[in-house]
Amino acid sequence: MARKTENYHLRIPSETANLQVIRNFVSDVAKSVGFENQDIGKIELAVDEACTNVIEHAYHQDSKKDIDVAVKIDFDKFTVVITDHGKGFKPEDVDIPDMNRYLAELRVGGLGIYLMKHLMDEVEYRTQPGVSNEVRMVKYLIRKDNKKKQSA
């Protein structure tokens, strides 16, 4: 099978009302390349969480700003890159909650980044101060013909 690269792109105003459109966009692409329903669900939730963070923390609910969602398919690698030009943050400053403690203390909020890390195979932040912030998340597709090859 020839190596095939495909790119998809969505640019949309930064508001929570658009989360459904963003989820539909990524899940349609994931479905078209053959992900199973459970993985499609993981991708759409991870992307929702990343975009919710942009809407609430980078752009502070300013719907005049846009969010960029780019999906790249490179054979078995599904990469989604969410870019904003808002207030950046240092990923090393973000506290990933210890869920046992989190639940014991009945804390609220801050679950998005925990979910993203557990739903996707790779999560990476790239920040160019004052220019742009990127969240790059990868999910690998396990293809049926791949499975056969591995077990042969």
Partner: protein, 114 residues
């Protein structure tokens, strides 16, 4: 449908909240409003029926977390019923089943308050 529909059924001691659709950062305030109303009315024996909920993000989970302490202090609880697998997987990933009792049937959840 892209939003969430919140319905409420008052029984004698227990209130059932039905969530239908998608619970995300956009729609979570609807659910929050419904729970706040119950707390204000001191109706704190709550069952949330999720049979028709297709999707939940951390914003929706945050609503459960935001009220549970208050509700338990008042002697009530939030019990969850009829959750779809897809929604359960998100609850489970975050360890929420430790904190919330989950029941297959609504009647079983209601029965816990009797």
């Amino acid at each position: 449908m892209s939003g969430v529909e919140v319905r409420r059924k008052d029984l004698q001691e227990v209130t059932v909240i039905y969530l239908k659709g998608y619970l995300d950062a956009h729609t979570a305030p609807e659910f929050e409003k419904a729970l706040q109303e119950l707390v204000d009315q001191n109706r704190v024996n709550i069952v949330v029926n999720l049979a028709e909920l297709n999707y939940i993000s951390s914003a929706g989970l945050g609503v459960f977390m935001g009220f549970i302490e208050d509700i338990r202090k008042k002697g009530g609880d939030i019990k969850i019923a009829e959750m779809a697998d897809k929604v359960f997987r998100v609850f489970d990933l975050l360890g929420f089943p430790v904190l919330y009792e989950i029941f297959k049937d609504e009647s079983e959840a209601i029965g816990q308050y009797r």
